[in-house]
């Protein structure tokens, strides 16, 4: 039901049951918010969005109050503006004024609000929060003095990620955000997914930077520097740099990386192709053996850590295959030739993920104590590196990537959205069975918006049923179905809702719709590209037919497998 309300002496239309904020926004009136997150129940905690309603003594929070017919609202009256300004001033009263040295300088919501409210002096002085910097986690840094206690990270961790690793600790001015028993992150149940980093309005939570490490290696003469990037990285990087993404951008990125100082540029997508091939092999192979067990994809490092902590009973079902980044990492460290004056290979991987920083450091991902991937960068860090080295991406000639991992199939790109790996595996199985592609109608079920999706595809007389858990909230349903005895051949779990397109190393999407838009872009690209699966890719053929045979370490593919074990943390 629609009705009219009066806002700033003009009438606007409002829907019954919606909040004041949504009515205002729909009518083009913007008011600042801070603790609000799209698609979450409002808390009204920060009070940034207060408005004046005639007949009410107090200002009310627009984000949480439902709009009513009798309302006459003032959104920018002197009283409202004064209140908002005071709120920002109070938030700043105990904030360290070190914006120039902050990770989120020029990209900080508090900074923006303080500018919008025209705060030009420190009017209110509070005692500063004791600086405490938790650098224990390989992926996420927590800086308590910069926290404004909006509680967004806590809600995401509980309601979206379901790990519930952080909460408010203490009371009053001692309140801070941290894991159980006030431990540091590396001893907590944090799965390093980085969803909290995406919602943090200030620099209190950010990914751990490894740029100085990369710079140091780039300045050395005795190392061979290799970089690989995930299929999603060019698209995300174009967004981050404000460049329009075109098909050429992937090859422009190759040239850019070489200019930055990397000797070889590989595509992690080739690793994804191998993963898809091996997964398809495993499923087709298990067809003939008795006792088919569901195979749970272990490509998402945040999910793997979650599984080790929260659902160790599922560990035996977890695929022992390494995730794409590590597969290509182990190929790189095996095949890139070293010489006497450059005896060491240094590998960097660029991903849309923070958890991969943790993954690369797992004991089970190393060989004789040497990791296959030395440094993992997020898309945001790569953008900084390129800017630091002063490379103009708009004025550079495209170059191909290096052999033997110079191409990826579009299936590898598809793996960046939730359900993509499952879909690609189904496609490969269908092609192996002699078909042209998998049953479109059945596969399309994997592209719905549900948090738990399932389908089954019959190809060449063999039926393959798969399930996709899109965001860890869908795990409950999977557990129920497995307990009830439902059979799946393949289960894909993605910790971040929407998959890697919403990963912790990406630019914050802000809403489900924005994630969906990225997803649709990937589906479109997948339709348009020529090489649709690993079986069509010359790179994969070259790797299996040539490279693996020549390299004794890779020949038996043992390098592509790893192991996972139960993890003892406070849950």
């Amino acid at each position: 039901m629609q009705f009219t309300i009066e806002v700033n002496n003009r009438s606007i239309k409002a829907e019954k049951g919606e909040t004041i904020l949504s009515a205002l926004n729909r009518n083009g009136i913007m008011i600042p918010t801070l603790c609000r997150m799209a698609e979450f129940t409002p808390t009204g905690a920060c009070r940034m969005c207060v408005v004046e309603v005639e007949g009410r003594d107090r200002l009310i929070t627009a984000c949480s109050a439902p709009v009513e017919e009798w309302m006459k609202i003032k959104t920018h009256s002197p009283r409202v503006i004064r209140a908002r300004k005071t709120i920002v001033e109070l938030l700043l009263s105990n904030h360290p004024d070190d914006c120039l040295y902050c990770d989120r300088n020029l990209d900080c919501e508090l900074q923006r609000l303080s500018d919008e409210m025209q705060v030009r002096e420190r009017r209110i002085r509070g005692s500063k929060i004791k600086p405490r910097r938790d650098q224990s986690s390989p992926a996420i840094v927590r800086e308590l003095s910069k926290c404004i206690l909006c509680g967004r990270c806590i809600r995401v961790c509980e309601e979206v990620v379901t790990a519930t690793s952080i909460d408010f600790i203490g009371r009053g001015r001692y309140t801070h955000v941290g894991p159980a028993m006030d431990r540091d992150f590396n001893f907590s149940s944090c799965i390093h997914c980085g969803q909290c980093v995406l919602v943090c309005p200030t620099g209190a939570l950010h990914e751990k930077h490894y740029l100085s490490e990369v710079q140091e290696q780039l300045s050395k003469n005795d190392v061979i520097r290799v970089i690989q990037y995930s299929p999603l990285v060019p698209y995300a990087l174009a967004n981050e740099m404000g460049v329009k993404y075109t098909r050429d951008f992937d090859r422009i990125l190759n040239a850019t990386l070489r200019k930055t100082g990397f000797d070889k540029v590989f595509l992690s997508g080739a690793g994804t192709d191998i993963l898809i091939t091996e997964l398809a092999d495993a499923i087709i192979g298990s067809e003939t053996t008795a006792g088919r067990k569901p195979l749970i994809v272990s490509a998402c490092p945040a999910w793997v850590k979650y599984c080790e902590q929260f659902t160790p009973e599922l560990l035996p079902l977890l695929s022992t295959l390494k995730p794409p980044q590590q597969i290509s990492g182990s190929i790189i460290k095996s095949v890139v030739p070293v010489s006497d004056d450059r005896p060491r290979v240094y590998t960097v991987s660029v991903t849309p993920c923070t958890a991969m920083k943790f993954e690369a450091r797992r004991d089970s991902m190393t060989r004789k104590g040497i990791s296959d991937i030395d440094t993992v960068l997020t898309v945001r860090e790569l953008a900084r590196l390129i800017i630091l080295y002063g490379i103009d991406m708009t004025n550079i000639d495209p170059e191909p990537a290096d052999e033997p991992m110079e191409l990826r199939s579009s299936a590898a790109l598809l793996a960046e959205v939730a359900g993509g790996i499952a879909e690609s595996v189904l496609r490969t199985i269908a092609v192996r069975a002699g078909g042209k592609e998998a049953d479109r109608v059945a596969v399309k079920k994997l592209r719905s918006t549900g948090i738990f999706r399932e389908t089954s595809v019959t190809a060449g007389g063999v039926t393959c049923s798969v399930a996709v858990v899109d965001g860890l909230k869908g795990l409950e349903k999977l557990k129920q179905m497995l307990d009830a005895g439902t059979h799946f051949d393949l289960v894909e779990v993605m910790a971040c809702p929407g998959g890697c397109v919403n990963g912790g190393g990406m630019i914050p999407a802000g809403s489900k719709e924005a994630v969906r838009q990225r997803t649709r872009f990937i589906w479109q690209t997948d339709e348009q590209e020529a090489v649709r699966g690993p079986e069509q890719s010359s790179t994969v053929a070259g790797l299996y037919g040539n490279v693996f045979d020549q390299c004794p370490e890779l020949a038996d593919k043992k390098l592509f497998h790893t192991h996972f074990s139960k993890r003892d943390v406070l849950l």
Partner: protein, 155 residues
């Protein structure tokens, strides 16, 4: 059966609303909330230990360290401060030779500063064992602690 199991057996599994009563019972039985106890309660109530710890730290009454046989809580609130709690706190610190939250070497004493305990007109207020002591003077502190010491010897 451990003390914690015995306490938990009095409550319904998974009932989140029993969290605070359980925490109170455990604190009474063990003197503090150990990590082990929190994990136990967490799996009993199917709650994250992070949430339990977060909630428990909100309340001053819950402690997370064993503390001494005699645990003293001194009000650090506004009203008691005006009535002169600072010299009292200093006297306790000097007599025991420890900081708030620490325990004396012999394991006899520990103390902590808390927010208002509701005795504002009678401040400074101090709480030990089961007794409130009101209008505490700094010069009374050494005597009071000596008395508590001999009492704890009898226990």
């Amino acid at each position: 059966m451990s003390k914690i199991d015995e306490i938990l057996s009095r409550y319904r599994e998974g009932s989140h609303e029993s969290l605070i009563p359980i925490l109170q019972d455990v604190q009474e039985a063990e003197g503090y909330l150990s990590e082990n106890a929190i994990v136990h309660i967490g799996s009993f109530l199917r709650m994250s230990t992070t949430k339990i710890f977060g909630l428990a730290t909100f309340y001053d009454r819950f402690r997370f360290f064993p503390g001494g046989r005699v645990h003293i809580r001194i009000c650090n609130g506004t009203s008691c401060f005006i009535n002169g709690s600072a010299p009292v706190i200093a006297a306790v610190r000097e007599t025991l030779g420890i900081e708030p939250g620490q325990t004396t070497r012999d394991g006899r004493f520990s103390y902590e500063l808390t927010t208002c305990m509701g005795g504002c007109n009678e401040g400074p207020v101090l709480f030990c064992g089961d007794n409130y002591k009101t209008r505490v003077h700094p010069e009374d502190v050494p005597d009071m602690l000596a008395k508590l010491k001999s009492l704890s010897d009898l226990q």
